[in-house]
Amino acid sequence: MASVTAEPIDTTIEVPGKRTPLVTGAHNYGTVTDAVCRLAECKTPLAWYVALGISASLMGMLFGLVGYLIITGVGVWGNRSPVFWGWPIVNFVFWVGIGHAGTLISAILFLFRQDWRTGINRAAEAMTIFAVICAGLFPGIHIGRVWLAYWLFPIPNQMAMWPNFRSPLLWDVFAVSTYATVSLLFWYMGMIPDLASLRDRAKGKIQQFAYGLFSLGWNGSSRHWHRYERAYLLLAALATPLVLSVHTIVSFDFAVSQLPGWHTTIFPPYFVAGAVFSGFAMVLTLMIPVRSICGIKDLLTDRHLENMTKVIIATGSMVGYAYAMEFFIAWYGGNRYETFAFINRAFGPYAWAYWIMVTCNVISPQLFWIKKIRTTPWMIFVVCIFVNIGMWFERFVITVTSLSRDFLPSSWGYFKPTIVDVLMLIGSFGLFMTLFLLFCKFLPMVAMAEVKSVMPRPHGKGDH
């Protein structure tokens, strides 16, 4: 049997000229399957039920509030003139951003042949799907008359009217729905062989039926694998520009307007960098506890965590650069409204939000330059929590400060969220966590087939 070196390896030490193994511990193909499938097969621990209970109640609260909103109207939010894009849009951009790490890990790192992605891509993709579900909810209910949401789509109707295809808001509809669909396809397709593994090991009738249905009769044929890998590569190649386009288009919602502080060309790359930044932070926030609880530390090693912190340093620095550049251009461009918008952000009524954002997004990721911090899981976890908070505030600062202080002082206002705003944000985390907990329990959390294919000596002779 092909097995891997028996003694545990400190994966954080780089040995020149030697590749660090991506799987530690005494693992062979069978034990990898066992480790991953155990989660779905073992008796569910009480803690899982407790966690699910909490997050499901938060989710229930969210849906209750959505019902309240639909019956009462969007006035239950703090959105008032002049800030009509309050928390719902902040939450939307935040959640869409969270999703980006999943696609980045699975698609871009795949194209770059970064084999370390195999340990984390499944969970990251799942996170993408769930984040996009949370994201899609907010603009969906923000439109006011929710029952007419289909007006967003070019469907023939008795008004003989079509949507305006030159509106960035409509581009958003297409971008986000395409992103959700392609991510789902990518995730599901990657999961088919692993679902087949679960099917072949399933004991109960229901499990056999469900996993059997969703694995579509996968039998591991090499001819199938050939087309499967080709399809996977093509999907990765399609998802890569897609992930960049989605947040670019989300940024167009802002950048195509005339509002000072929004009308800037830096928005598309800056939004994408921010999205990747927050997404990686969220992957780490989720994976650090999950890998300990689920006992998959061998597959999701410290090395994985460290690699991701390096991505966070890179994207965090890009975000910091963008903040500086926005300020510089506001001054250098000589547009007094623009200049005011940025001075107002830093020293105006929302200065508190701005400085939370700067502290969390610019300063905290720089801590990862210290090796001790980026190799200690709990420290990574703490920093990532800060990054998540910071990125939420970034969206808040962009959305609210610009709207509340536009050209005319006569139309200025101060945005205050209502309790419904706050509870909905919390509830969206409940929705996200509920889906994620269900995923952890019932689906393969690690891409087994892919991990096996990067284990030493899997294909042909020698180290391939």
């Binding site: 049997m1 092909a2 062979n28 193909y29 069978g30 399957t33 008359r145 029952w147 007419l148 070019p154 469907i155 023939p156 109707n157 008795q158 003989a160 009217m161 079509w162 305006n164 295809f165 030159r166 581009w171 297409f174 971008a175 395409t178 669909t181 392609v182 396809l185 397709m189 062989p193 692993d194 593994s197 072949d200 249905l213 579509l216 009769g217 039998n219 591991g220 044929s221 090499s222 001819r223 199938h224 694998w225 050939h226 087309r227 499967y228 080709r230 399809a231 093509l234 999907l235 399609l238 520009p241 897609l242 386009s245 288009i249 087994m448 087939a449 096996k452 294909h459 042909g460 391939h464």
Partner: protein, 462 residues
């Protein structure tokens, strides 16, 4: 290593189960690659290997040709892009032209995002469904799954499967050949004795459900795209059905029965604030405590007037009631009317006043203000009895009226005279008052104070 090829007695006894193929099991990917090369070289065509993960290098070992999947994906992507461009052009530039700020109805830059998204979407579906289609998946029933050993194909075992349909296949020879490849085990797999097809009733039922669903979808599409005079079914009643009141109807919601609501006391309609120049707008020095006194007085006057008019044959010759005995007039007399013009008195204003007077007033009041306008003359001639002859400006009473009161009369009317406030601007009303005063003066002047030249000029006017 087990090399037995066995066949269970029961399976054989049942009803001619067919031998579908042979399965050789390996535990090492390298061994599988070696075995694959041998099977390929032995000339078999219908065979396959099964592995828990893609093994790189097995494509060449098995002689697998490149898939056409990339072409399918490219085709789907192009289709998506074409649909997107066509859709945006047709919907926004042809069928329902959107003209926004003079921008072109169709332009490439604005249609790039959606074109890109739809291309990617269709290409992704092409990749996913194309892969499934080429692999003939989903295929939930597969006789190979009956092998207990084959369950480890998704875990850690590697298999070679030989299809019995292959021209070179023979139960004995192929079995021996497989054994020579050094596998852990070789076994047969057989077709099921039961038909793999769905029961007839189920197929029929499913097709029926499908047809009904399609019909329903078609019906919805038909209804949505045809015009109909009947209202749509409204699950949620939007602004089409507002319980709002109509201006000219009656209601029992309010005690006065009116649906249109009068202004609340103390409110000023937009654009109606006039308190910053009371003399100019009201002809009053200041507004008295009871701001409505003017309006009330006027309403009472009108009411009383209407009564006399409808009280049948009022004597035709009856002149207007003298202002002194009229209680309303008495009320009006008490108001603090202005006595000086709140506008600069100029030659130009006088000319304007003359012009406006001749347009609005002379028809009844006459060019000289003696109450002998053409309308008056004709009305007197008809003797209908409904006409109140306008008073002459040159009576003592009228001459004594302060100019603010004259202004008020033009604005709000008096007796049969309608209100001209809505037709003549305040500025023009003052101009008329000015001209009226001039007319009155013209009747008071002693002829001796006028020079001969002027007299001649006046005569020439006639």
């Amino acid at each position: 290593m087990a090399t037995t090829i066995e066949q269970s007695e029961e399976t054989k006894a049942k009803a001619e189960p067919e031998l579908l193929g042979l399965l050789a099991e390996f535990d090492d990917p390298d061994a599988l690659i070696e075995a694959s090369k041998k099977v390929r070289d032995a000339g078999y065509r219908k065979w396959d290997t099964h592995t828990p993960f893609p093994i790189h290098g097995i494509d060449e070992a098995m002689g697998i040709k490149w898939t056409i999947l990339p072409w399918i994906v490219a085709g789907c992507g192009l289709t998506g892009g074409t649909i997107a461009v066509g859709m945006q052009y047709w919907m926004n530039a042809v069928d329902y032209p959107f003209l926004i700020s003079g921008k072109p109805l169709f332009s490439i830059p604005a249609s790039i995002p959606i074109t890109f998204e739809l291309s990617v979407l269709l290409a992704a579906f092409g990749a996913f469904l194309g892969m499934l289609g080429l692999n003939q998946l989903p295929k939930l029933y597969n006789p190979i799954f009956k092998s207990e050993a084959f369950r480890r194909v998704t875990n850690d075992r590697f298999f070679v499967s030989m299809d019995a349909k292959d021209a070179k296949f023979s139960e004995i020879d192929t079995g021996e050949f497989l054994n020579s490849l050094n596998p852990i085990n070789v076994e047969e797999f057989w077709s099921d004795t039961e038909s793999p097809k769905l029961p007839r009733n189920l197929t029929l039922g499913l097709s029926l459900v499908g047809v009904v669903m399609l019909l329903l979808a078609g019906l919805v599409a038909y209804v949505r795209t045809t015009t109909s005079p009947d209202p749509r079914i409204h699950i949620i009643q939007d602004m089409d059905f507002q319980p709002s009141l109509k201006a000219q109807n009656t209601t029992n919601l309010f005690p006065d029965g009116r649906e249109i609501r009068p202004n609340l006391k103390g409110t000023i309609p937009r654009g109606q604030f006039k308190d910053d120049n009371i003399p100019f707008y009201y002809g009053l020095k200041y507004l008295p405590e009871d701001q409505d006194v003017v309006t009330i007085a006027l309403q009472e006057e009108k009411k009383a007037d209407d009564k006399t008019a409808t009280d049948k044959k009022a004597p035709a010759e009856k002149p207007a009631a003298p202002a002194a005995v009229d209680p309303v007039a008495a009320k009006l007399d008490k108001l603090p009317w202005v006595t000086e013009f709140p506008v600069p008195v100029t030659e130009k204003l006088m000319a304007r006043g003359k012009e406006r007077y001749r347009i609005y007033c002379s028809a009844c009041h006459g060019l000289g203000g003696e109450g002998d306008g053409l309308v008056t003359l004709r009305a007197m001639e008809l003797l209908q009895g409904t006409w109140v002859k306008p008073a002459s400006y040159h009576t003592e009473n009228v001459r004594k009226l302060p100019i603010g009161r004259l202004y008020h009369t033009i604005t709000n009317g008096v007796r049969k005279m309608p209100a001209y406030g809505s037709q003549v601007t305040p500025e023009d009303r003052w101009a008329i008052v000015l001209y009226l005063k001039a007319l009155q003066k013209s009747h008071q002047i002693d002829a001796d104070t006028i020079s001969e030249a002027e007299k001649r000029k006046l005569r020439d006017i006639k």
